[in-house]
Symmetry: C2
């Protein structure tokens, strides 16, 4: 598409390069480069995008940005207004009532902005400007000495503006020194590709999308873009806003940048200028791109719609802690009292409002909830405040909150130990947060008398308890009881079958290696459950590694005993397999219920 726009605009060879200094007139007049940089730093380009030229007036928004960062919005506003002037960019005039330059995009405002840059001395001040532009461009920029000297020799009008500004006190330092620095900043060499990255940095709320370095704060980026919107293209701002709809700035070097906030930056280089001093093809290419790609700052996505990526109950998507049949029943019946909300994208007011509203609408039904922030980008101040207030309201009403926030996007590095802490608990993964919520639901809704899984004797283990007494006694006698310390490995993935394990106390975790090299939890089992059945039955190695999550007591029926049962007492072995199948059945039934609860979202 960029190629097409380039081709469509290439034939217009009207206009001429700026010629008020020889160095500007010396460029190849028909050079034409066009770039589009995305908010994640990819630069699409066509044509002469790596020819160096002088930045000229495109420097203005960036020096204004640095002045705002150095002096603050209020002090800069005392020196420079933000109103469109309706006059040529190099007019020697000030606002009649306030005696300020109308805005920082005309020469008088830009020179004033330059005067506000702080630094030890003239050299340091310019170096700070150069470094600022370089942060926006993502590479070290340098000045074109010939252009600077030429500007400096011939810049009578800008010197006049400097003296005029000094005479009314808008600048209170040596005007020659300021104007000299202004010539230097205008002479910084950039390419069309550099400009695209600079524009994309403005689009990306002030963060350079290639280097990820912050070049400007979010609020100052807003202000710079605002001024570019109303004052960036000199006259005909209204026409530019309606037909292009992108904050922009042009320079007599032949460059133009245009910004679609939050989305992308555009740059054009073509030195032939129109009567306003804007690049002829640059203006045409911006119009054409805006039209074809439907870029307009008033036509944006309804971002609140994507703030909630998914929400579901812990009954629909349980944690990987396998519950006892009794507890699973409680969670099936009451699991809708704990929900998981996965948020997504940058969280500004609208997205936060949508999320908070969705959660608040269910507060009365909830004992606990998980807010998963791992896919969230920027969290604005108001969004953080809203989420914090929501949390303290929820806690006040007795609803517990788990944040999944390993990057501390809400600013809480660690969980408080106080269970009533309004900030809730912070987890680094969703599975553990979900388990925590399930525990809360179980604690509230277990029938009177029911108790969480605890230490049992081998004869009480469901696998044994269901057998007839004779079989039970004989099988129990064949088992060896073993105690394993926390963290110890009971079975390694790939190791040969080593027994049928019946858990009597504690928890074991089955894990598998992820491609990230870390061990991931497949499931956690507790007392009354068993593992190792399938390797035993089919004489295949373990598929998962089994680790003790706590101190664990297990009873183990060895492979040799298990195998010998086939010949010694096939009926007893069949009875045992029947019990194993019953466990598998309960497990499958629970899985089906989980999948069925999810299927409607599928």
């Amino acid at each position: 598409m960029l190629d097409q726009v380039h081709a469509a605009c290439r034939d217009d060879t009207s206009g001429a390069p700026a010629d008020y200094i020889p160095e500007l007139a010396a460029v190849a007049p028909d050079s034409f480069g066009l770039c589009l940089a995305t908010a994640d730093g990819l630069v699409y380009q066509v044509g002469d995008t790596d020819i160096a030229f002088s930045i000229q007036s495109i420097s203005k928004p960036f020096t204004y940005a640095l002045a705002l960062a150095d002096r603050g919005i209020d002090e800069v506003a005392r020196h420079i207004d933000v109103e469109p002037s309706g006059e040529p960019f190099n007019e020697i005039s000030l606002e009649p009532d306030t005696q300020r330059p109308s805005n920082p995009m005309i020469n008088s405002g830009a020179i004033t902005a330059t005067s506000l840059i702080t630094g030890r001395d003239a050299e340091d001040k310019f170096e700070r400007v150069r470094r600022c532009y370089s942060r926006f461009a993502g590479r070290e920029l340098t000045m074109d000495k010939a252009v600077y000297e030429s500007e400096s020799r011939t810049g009578y009008r800008n010197r006049a503006i400097g003296y005029m500004l000094r005479s009314v006190g808008v600048i209170d330092v040596d005007p020659d020194d300021v104007v000299d620095r202004y010539f230097r900043q205008c002479s910084i060499e950039i390419t069309c590709a550099d400009l695209a990255v600079m524009a994309a940095t403005l689009a990306d709320n002030g963060v350079n999308p290639k280097t990820r370095e912050r070049a400007l704060s979010t609020s100052l980026t807003e202000r710079v873009l605002s001024v570019m919107t109303t004052c960036g293209m000199y006259n005909a701002a209204g026409d530019w806003v309606t037909t292009v709809g992108l904050p922009a700035k042009s320079g007599v070097g032949g460059g133009i940048i245009a910004v679609l906030p939050g989305q992308l930056g555009i740059s054009v280089y073509s030195p032939r200028l129109d009567g306003h001093g804007n690049s002829v093809r640059g203006v045409a290419a911006c119009r054409e791109l805006s039209k074809r790609l439907e870029l307009h700052f008033c036509h944006v996505t309804r971002s609140a719609r994507t703030a909630i990526r998914a929400d579901y109950t812990v009954a629909q998507m349980p944690s990987r802690l396998r519950r006892t049949t009794d507890d699973a029943e409680v969670l099936a019946a009451h699991g809708e009292r704990a929900r998981v909300y996965e948020l997504h994208g940058d969280l500004l007011f609208s997205g936060a409002e949508r999320a908070v509203r969705a959660i608040e609408g269910r507060t009365a039904e909830l004992d606990a909830l998980v807010i998963d922030l791992r896919r969230v980008g920027e969290v604005s101040r108001v969004a953080r405040d809203m989420l914090e207030q929501l949390q303290s309201e929820l806690v006040g009403r007795g609803t517990r909150v788990a944040l999944v926030d390993p990057d501390a996007k809400l600013g809480h590095e660690v969980s408080s130990l106080d269970p009533d802490d309004p900030r809730g608990r912070v987890f680094i993964d969703r599975d553990t947060a979900t388990e925590w919520c399930e525990d809360i639901v179980l604690h509230k809704h277990r029938p009177p008398g029911a108790r969480p899984p605890t230490s049992i004797e081998l004869a009480q283990h469901p696998l044994m308890a269901g057998l007839d007494p004779d079989y039970r006694r004989r099988l129990c006698a064949e088992c060896e009881t073993r105690t394993v310390a926390r963290g110890e490995v009971l079975a390694e993935r790939g190791s040969p079958r080593s027994g049928l394990y019946l858990i009597l106390d504690g928890r074991v975790r089955m894990t598998f290696p992820g491609t990230d090299g870390r061990a991931h939890r497949l499931v956690t089992l507790s007392s009354g459950m068993s593992f190792g059945e399938v390797p035993m039955l089919v004489r295949e190695p373990f598929v998962n590694t089994v680790v003790a999550e706590t101190r664990v007591r297990v009873a183990v029926l060895s492979p040799s005993v298990f195998d010998s049962l086939t010949d010694d007492d096939p009926r007893m072995k069949l009875a045992l397999l029947q019990r194993l199948a019953a466990g598998a059945y309960a497990q499958m039934d629970m899985t089906v219920r989980t999948i069925s609860a999810n299927a409607e979202n599928y």
Copy 2:
């Protein structure tokens, strides 16, 4: 937060209601209402939000909108420019060079816009205006006759403007008639809550968020908001844009609307006006809300980040068609050659670019892909073009595309039967689309000689084939072979165990009832697989309903035979259970591999 802003601004009782007609001066001067309407139609409100007052100049953007819809952008532009004027709103002047009103937000431009509304006669023209405003407000609005009559009696200045416009030919109809209609439109009664919905409609790309009725096209909404940005708040547009950052419009009735495109609308009602004719508290409340909620059109979410909700391979998230062990091996090895992309939210250029880039970057690796559009909202023209071009490029390179697009967001109601159709195949659910992609991968990557599951004899069934010949022969003899027509139910959820079923030909689907009342697919099984094992073993009813997807041939081992084996030949029964366990093992190993592939995204 709205309450706080209301309280913070309430104490300012400076200014006075407009008094150029008695009806405007007769309002309760200290009324104060404040609303914020979200892009999904919720109106937060505080104070006097249901007091009716006359819309006055807030009518201007809406009549301009209707004129644009009636006459087109170009014809309207021939009559009205879009540049800020820098003059009072009721100035009797035109642009010196073009002899047009500077913009539609000053009286001369607004009266011109009124003159451009089409209709059979004066009454019809006004009725069309009233209906237009009503679509924006989401309820039938009416005119306040007293205000109209008062305006009509005293509107000398507007009559002067009307005659001036007629004299230079900007309007070519009876100016008295036009100005009369202008008075009527200014006298339409609205409340603060109405204005919030009208503003939210502009925020929502022209669709009323409460009624979901389209009030204006997306591109005309852009234009109206553009003009409000540069010309909406009379003078000091630059200051408004930098400090409030919301396209806005005020009226001398005491109302103000402000719009954050894509996100929300704000309205204020407070009749005391400042020297510019703007509501004193209205301006203060807009500033305060913008500051506290961080609302600024240049500070937006990087929406492209949320365009892809999830992407994964068919190996990570297979379809619910259970594959044979051989086919499952092929999919485990080559499943990364088919991917699913779930898109999310409104799809404009940036989001489409991100999605297309992500997909294109993998084209060389892909045989097939699914693009799931079910969670997508608006699809802009450029996004549709990009997705279509992507599809035809993919098809050109031999990659097959499945769209999940039940609402025809890309405009294709039905799939083409032509397999090379660049538009790809269209599915209504993702599961079927995924299965289609798996079939493509299997077709390309099955080892030479391997064949898809087909009709088998009972002795070839894996459950039988692994047994020793004597057991196999005896068990085969005990089975009854049955043929079932497509759509017939083999087992009902909740029905008692009816046998161990070995599939010899065709496909069966296990389903469960969703809370939506529809039957959802849990899994599809084909020849060589079995079902009914667990009910048989534990004497429990079926958990799922089993339906024939095609004509099906099954062999059934009855419960009575299965049970009697325990006594008749326990060793043969153990051998059979061993084979069932082997099948379970293969199934579990595949599940673990699937979960492990997913876990890193978990």
